[in-house]
Amino acid sequence: MKPAAFRYVRAESLGEALAALADGGEDAKPIAGGQSLVPALNLRLVRPTLLVDLNHAGLDGVAENGALTVGATSRQATLVGDERVHSLVREALPFVGHFVTRNRGTVGGSIAHADGAAELPLCLVALGGRVVVDGPGGRREIPAEEFFVTHFTTALTTGELVVETVWPLAASGESCAFEELALRAGDFAQSMVAVVLRRDAGGTVVDASVAVGAVSDHPLRLREVERLLVGSSGAEAAADAGSLAAALVDPPGSIHASARYLRALTGSLTTRAIERAA
């Protein structure tokens, strides 16, 4: 199918973009890479009256300043092979769509779109990153865990834009792993798990982050699993942590996989990720 008609503004700066969005009101939408939005336009799942193109608004670029700040319109492909990018993200990137869609799809777009089965939101939550937004109320920073609300719904208010995301750098004593199962390469995950462990010199886990996606409506930190891991070697608690993760998630199930299967899958992926990060 073809998109319904809309007006189009190419914003040459952040100020122009915010002004155009304010002008367009509730039915205006920003477009960057368009890898989720244009398919939704083509299928007429969404019918915005105005599209504000951010590709020329100067919102791209990656900078390191105690953390990695990634401009909203930086392409996903620019993170591939960048040594400064946290290894959790580098493990997850091959699962983000395909070679060609990563060329066009943006980091900020994936965050703002907030698909419950998207890898970058899960990684940002697992790493304790932040989302920088700007809008009619001014610039503000939102912790990733508070940014994602539910399917395709974030803490963004009308007229606000994601302008950059802030990704913690890898710390010493830290190890991580990302695990995902999808029906085909590049498809949406059935379940996915991100694990980050920090150890003391003796190898005991002193801090853990375990987050799951696709089996919940937004990226979900499993704090009970994290508490189980702290004080262990990691590997010795992997099996119990998997069982606990399986019990904690409550996926709806689909024609592809029953809820029972998805819980078991999440448990297996959690165990596997902890063992690999151990």
């Binding site: 199918m1 073809k2 998109p3 319904a4 008609a5 809309f6 007006r7 189009y8 190419r10 477009i31 368009g34 890898q35 244009v38 398919p39 336009l41 083509n42 299928l43 599209l51 193109d53 590709n55 492909a77 091959p94 769509g97 395909h98 070679f99 060609v100 869609t101 060329n103 066009r104 085909r184 390469a185 590049g186």
Partner: protein
């Protein structure tokens, strides 16, 4: 309608377009460049892949108006009326196409992938996961692309 100006296969093109016109439809219906195929029209099949400013993108997920000021290269740019490119010749030699519907998109994505360095067989297969071919079973496509990996170039493609 908005006026756009872009360079398609080396030629400057000026057209008036509706904002909702997809780049694929602009190429096929306005310019008659029917080598770019339209399959799923929602970014899954890869048949519409073209180069936008030298980088492979889904033509069905880009608006023509977004390409204003850009360079677009389609499958027609590879061999114009001259000899086949090494990649195209490799596809012929390895019997890497049957019906040919997916071939233009794969050729453009593979042209991009090969321009960046020396992809491994696994990286070629990963790239092809974004391109649906219902005829070949992919083995010959991987063979054809792998045969075009330059043996002497360093990884990263900067040499």
């Amino acid at each position: 309608m908005s006026g756009i100006e872009l360079t398609v296969n080396g030629l400057v093109v000026r057209e008036a377009v509706e904002p909702r016109l997809l780049l694929t439809d602009f190429l096929r219906h306005r310019l008659g460049l029917t080598g770019t195929h339209v399959g799923c029209e929602h970014g899954v099949c890869g048949a519409c892949t073209v180069l936008l400013d030298g980088v492979s993108v889904r033509g069905c997920c880009v608006l023509a108006i977004q390409a204003d000021g850009s360079r677009v290269d389609t499958v027609e740019s590879l061999a114009e009326s001259g000899p086949l490119t090494a990649l195209q010749e490799s596809f012929r030699r390895h019997h890497a196409l049957q019906c040919g519907f997916c071939t233009p998109g794969i050729l453009m994505a593979a042209t991009d992938l090969l321009s960046r360095g020396r992809p491994t067989r696994a990286e070629i297969a990963d790239m092809l996961s974004g391109h649906l071919c219902r005829c070949t079973g992919y083995t010959q496509i991987v063979d054809a692309i792998e045969a075009c990996v330059e043996p002497t170039r360093g990884r990263g493609g900067n040499t």
